[in-house]
Symmetry: C2
Subunit: 97 residues, 2 copies
């Protein structure tokens, strides 16, 4: 917990972290259901992965519990999206294409 943070601050942080984390779930669902990730940017999700890793380091260094919790789950979801981008992100090709 951040020194000086109020319990209400932590509640806001936990809700914020939950939202910016679960936000990736519908994107995952969309890629799986459409089997298409062509419009997804490698760079966006790659840079986001490096950034989330550093937020995790920052959260651990400052004991910011919501930041730590959010970024552990975010990193797992980003990894799945990157795998699916690799799987479904290529240019569309017909059967045999």
């Amino acid at each position: 917990m951040i020194p000086g943070a109020l319990p209400s601050d932590n509640a806001i942080g936990i809700v914020a972290g939950t939202l910016t984390t679960i936000a990736f779930v519908p994107q995952l669902y969309r890629i799986v259901s459409t089997r298409s990730a062509h419009d997804i940017s490698w760079w966006m999700f790659g840079i986001m992965t490096v950034g989330a890793t550093l937020w995790l380091v920052w959260g651990l260094a400052t004991n910011a519990v919501p930041v730590i919790a959010a970024n552990v789950v975010t990193l797992a979801l980003l990894a799945l999206i990157l795998v699916l981008k690799w799987r479904y992100g290529r240019d569309a090709a017909g059967p045999g294409g």
Copy 2:
């Protein structure tokens, strides 16, 4: 600045915030250059916008400067992506379609 945070912690937070913020730039660029946002999830970017707004509130409440700075810019980029999703995210249609 978070009480008890070291200058090196703030440096990590600033780099982390910069990365998770600029990550949205290549996604914006991809949507603009391909004029397609079909694979982008409304839900992801909508939930992300609500979450970033709450992170901003949390950052202001706890004086977490990197969190404040990152989320102000992130919200602007998310707004642009949502506009472009609205513009280019519909099902593909040929000329006149």
